[in-house]
C-alpha cells in the first residue's frame, strides 16, 4: 500500500494547475447556472489531459486524479466520461462523451449537443452514435450547472461496442465518484470561505457550532469520498466502484442543501458561485439508479 502520488501524477496535476490558472479569474456572477469555457476545453484536450487514461502506465487512477482536480474549477468541462470511459471505446470517439442509460433516454443528458458522442449503456450491450441536430433539443433553462440537452431521437445506425456493459458501469461509477469528490471539496471550500467572512451578531458565522459541526461532517464525507474514488479507480473493482458512487451520491444529498443554507440569502443568488459546484452535484445524484442503484450494485458485488 502506498498512497503517495507518483512523480508523473504530481507533474500532471501541476500542469493542470498551471494551465487552468488563467481561467481562475473568470467573472462568476454572470455565469448563469452553468459556466462553460470552450477555450479551457480546447486547452485541456490539446494538452492531452483527457487522454491520460489511454496510457497503461498512467491508467485510470491518474485519469481519476485529473477528473477530481478539474471538477474543483468553477467552469464545467466534460472530463469524467472522456478520461475514464473513452479509453474503452477508442481515441477516435469524438468528445464530448455523453453517458445515457438505455432505458432512461428521457432524462436530460450532460453536455449533449450536436457533435457529441452518445453512449447508450444497456444491461448487456453498449452502443453509440454521434448526435446530429435532429437528435438533440438543448435545455438552456435546466436547473443544473452543466450544459444539458434532451435526446429526442436516435439514428437507426448505431455502433455496437465489444466492451462489457458491466465494465462501462464500473468506470461510470468511478468517474462519478471522482468528479463528485472534486465538486464536494470545492463547494465546501467556497462555503467555508463565505461563513468565515460573513459577520452576524458581531462575529463570523463560522464561529457558530450549529454550522461548524455540519461543515466538519461534510469534510469527513469529502475526504472519505476522495479516497474511495481513488481506490476504485485504482482497482476498477465493481464493489469498490459501487461503494464510491454510493458515498458520492449520499454525500451530495446530505451536503448540497446545507451549503446553500449556510450562505443564507446569498445562497439563493446566482451572484455567488456556490451553485457552479452544487448544481453539478445535483445532476450526479440520479445517475445509474441513484443511491439505491449503487447500494444494490454494491450489495451484489460484496455479498452476492
Amino acid at each position: 500500500m502506498n498512497l503517495s502520488l507518483t512523480d508523473d501524477q504530481i507533474a500532471i496535476l501541476d500542469a493542470i494547475d498551471t494551465l487552468t490558472r488563467p481561467y481562475a479569474g473568470a467573472t462568476l456572477h454572470e455565469a448563469g447556472f452553468a459556466l462553460t469555457s470552450e477555450a479551457l476545453d480546447r486547452d485541456l484536450a490539446e494538452g492531452g489531459f483527457l487522454d491520460i487514461g489511454f496510457d497503461p502506465d498512467l491508467g485510470a487512477i491518474s485519469a481519476a486524479l485529473v477528473v477530481e482536480r478539474l471538477a474543483r474549477l468553477p467552469q464545467t468541462v466534460e472530463a469524467a466520461a472522456s478520461a475514464l470511459i473513452r479509453p474503452l471505446l477508442g481515441d477516435a470517439t469524438p468528445r464530448p462523451l455523453c453517458l445515457v442509460e438505455e432505458d432512461k433516454t428521457h432524462r436530460p443528458v450532460r453536455f449533449l449537443a450536436p457533435g457529441a458522442t452518445v453512449l447508450l449503456v444497456g444491461p448487456d450491450r453498449v452502443r453509440s452514435f454521434v448526435a446530429g441536430p435532429e437528435h438533440v433539443r438543448a435545455e438552456p433553462e435546466a436547473l443544473y450547472a452543466y450544459p444539458m440537452g434532451n435526446l429526442i431521437a436516435q439514428p437507426d445506425d448505431r455502433t455496437d461496442h465489444s466492451v462489457s456493459a458491466d465494465d462501462i458501469r464500473t468506470r461510470w461509477r468511478v468517474a462519478l465518484a471522482a468528479e463528485a469528490a472534486g465538486l464536494l471539496a470545492a463547494a465546501l471550500d467556497s462555503t467555508a470561505t463565505y461563513v468565515t467572512d460573513r459577520q452576524q451578531f458581531g462575529r463570523p458565522l463560522a464561529t457558530f457550532q450549529a454550522l461548524r459541526h455540519r461543515l466538519a461532517e461534510a469534510q469527513v464525507r469529502a475526504n472519505g469520498l476522495y479516497w474511495l474514488a481513488m481506490k476504485a479507480a485504482s482497482t476498477l473493482d465493481a464493489g469498490d466502484a459501487a461503494l464510491a458512487a454510493l458515498h458520492a451520491q449520499e454525500s451530495a444529498r446530505t451536503s448540497v442543501y446545507d451549503f446553500h443554507q449556510f450562505l443564507g440569502a446569498m445562497g439563493m443568488t446566482l451572484e455567488h458561485p456556490l451553485h457552479l459546484w452544487t448544481y453539478r452535484l445535483k445532476a450526479l445524484i440520479g445517475d445509474l439508479g441513484g443511491r439505491g442503484g449503487q447500494a444494490l450494485a454494491a450489495a451484489d458485488a460484496l455479498w452476492g
Binding site: 461548524r212 461543515l215 475526504n223 454494491a298 455479498w303
Partner: protein, 381 residues
C-alpha cells in the same frame, strides 16, 4: 498511488491470522464478551500477549533497540485490525502498544524507559489512563486533581472518573494540575496503582464488566522522578498520545467484519433478498470503507514521517459514522444478535457505543476539524 497490499504485508496479515487461529481458545467468541477490561480477559491477555511477544508480534512496529522490529505503520495497522477484528485478545494491553509505549519512548527518561518498557514488550503490563474527572470530560484542561510539589515528591489529591482498566492496572498514566495555568499548568505522573492513598471503585457499564471506574487520590506521594517530561508539558504529551490513540483502534475493521457476519447470517436465514436490507447493508459498508481509507491515508503519511495533526480527527469521526451505521443495521435486521444468539455480534455491539465517546468525544473531533482542517475561526469562549 497503489492500493494493493505488498506480498510482505499480506504475509504478515496471514501470519497473524494463523497465530490467532492456533492460539485463541475454542470458545473465544463467547469468552470475549467478558469485555476487554474484565478480570477474565485481563488474565487471559497476559498469556496471549506473552505468546505474541514470543512470536515478535506484540510490538513489531517499535524500533529494534527498544524491543521491536522496526516495521512500518502499515504493519502496526494490520496488527491492530486483526486483533480488533478478533475481539481484542490483548485486552487493555492494546493501549500499551498503541500509545503508552510510544509516548514513553518519546518523552520518558532513561530510568522510566528501563522500568516500564520491558513489561510492556513482554506482554505483562496493564496501564490505566487517568484523564477524565467528574467536572472535566471533554474539557480536559479544566481538570483539578492537584499534584503539589513537596521537596523530592509530589502529593496528589483528587478524583478521576470513567477510567478504563483501573481495577486491575498496575500503573496509571495520571494527568494532574501542578499550577493554575489552564493548559501549561498540567503535568503527567506515572503512578503505580498500589501506591498508598489510591482507591478504585468500579462503575457498572454498558460495555462489559470491569471497564470503567472512579479513582480517588488521597494525599498520594509520588516521587518527582515519576513525572513524564517537564512540569507543565502534559498538554503537548497528551496531544501526541491522543493522535496515536485516535487512530489507534481500527473500529472500522470490526464494524465491517460484524456487518459481513450479519449478512452471512441473514443470507442463511433467507432474509437478505429484499432491496431494503441490501441497501442498508451497502450504506453501512460504504461508511466502513470510507473510514478505512481515511485512516489509511494517515497511516501512509506516518510512513513518510509526516507529522499528523487534525486529519486524524476526520478519520476518527468517519469511524464513528461507520460504527453507528453498522450497529443500527444489526439492531434493525438481526435483533437477536443483542441477545445471546450471536456472541460475535453481541461483542461488537457492546463495544460499539464507545466509538464516539472515548479518547475525545466525536463532537470534539468535529470542533478540531472545523478549526484545524477547515481553518474556520474558533468559537468564542
Amino acid at each position: 498511488m497503489n492500493f494493493e497490499w505488498t506480498q510482505d504485508e499480506e504475509a504478515f496479515r496471514q501470519r497473524l491470522r494463523d497465530f490467532l487461529a492456533a492460539t485463541l481458545p475454542e470458545d473465544w467468541e463467547r469468552f470475549s464478551q467478558h469485555g476487554p477490561a474484565s478480570p477474565a480477559l485481563t488474565d487471559y491477555a497476559r498469556t496471549f500477549c506473552g505468546r505474541l511477544a514470543d512470536e515478535g508480534l506484540l510490538t513489531p512496529h517499535w524500533a529494534r533497540e527498544i524491543g521491536g522490529q522496526g516495521l512500518d505503520p502499515w504493519h502496526q495497522t494490520i496488527l491492530a485490525e486483526e486483533m480488533w477484528i478478533a475481539g481484542e485478545p490483548r485486552g487493555g494491553q492494546y493501549m500499551n502498544v498503541n500509545w503508552v509505549g510510544p509516548t514513553l519512548i518519546r518523552y520518558g527518561s532513561d530510568a522510566q524507559k528501563a522500568r516500564y518498557l520491558p513489561a510492556i514488550t513482554g506482554g505483562r503490563a496493564l496501564w490505566c489512563q487517568g484523564f477524565s474527572e467528574p467536572g472535566s470530560g471533554s474539557d480536559l484542561a479544566s481538570l483539578r486533581t492537584r499534584a503539589t510539589r513537596d521537596g523530592d515528591v509530589y502529593r496528589v489529591s483528587g478524583q478521576k472518573i470513567w477510567t478504563s482498566y483501573a481495577g486491575l492496572a498496575d500503573t496509571c498514566f495520571l494527568v494532574c494540575r501542578t499550577s493554575d495555568d489552564r493548559k501549561q499548568g498540567i503535568s503527567i505522573l506515572l503512578v503505580p496503582m498500589d501506591t498508598p492513598g489510591i482507591t478504585v471503585r468500579q462503575i457498572p457499564s454498558l460495555i462489559g464488566e470491569g471497564d470503567i471506574h472512579e479513582v480517588f487520590f488521597d494525599d498520594v506521594v509520588v516521587p518527582v522522578e515519576a513525572r513524564l517530561g517537564e512540569e507543565g508539558q502534559a498538554w503537548e504529551i497528551i496531544g501526541y498520545s491522543l493522535t496515536n490513540e485516535r487512530l489507534g483502534i481500527p473500529r472500522y475493521a470490526l464494524a465491517r467484519a460484524a456487518l459481513d457476519r450479519a449478512v452471512t447470517l441473514l443470507q442463511a436465514q433467507g432474509e437478505f433478498a429484499g432491496e431494503a436490507v441490501r441497501i442498508e447493508a451497502a450504506h453501512a459498508a460504504a461508511l466502513c470503507e470510507a473510514a478505512r481509507m481515511a485512516s489509511y491515508a494517515i497511516v501512509d503519511r506516518r510512513c513518510r514521517g509526516e507529522a499528523i495533526g487534525a486529519e486524524s480527527s476526520s478519520a476518527r469521526f468517519a469511524t464513528v459514522m461507520a460504527e453507528r451505521r453498522v450497529c443500527e443495521f444489526i439492531v434493525e435486521y438481526l435483533p437477536q444478535a443483542l441477545a445471546d444468539a450471536h456472541p460475535y455480534l453481541k461483542m461488537h455491539h457492546q463495544r460499539g457505543i464507545v466509538a464516539g465517546i472515548a479518547a475525545g468525544a466525536a463532537e470534539i473531533q468535529l470542533n478540531i476539524i472545523a478549526s484545524d482542517v477547515l481553518k474556520l475561526p474558533r468559537e468564542p469562549r
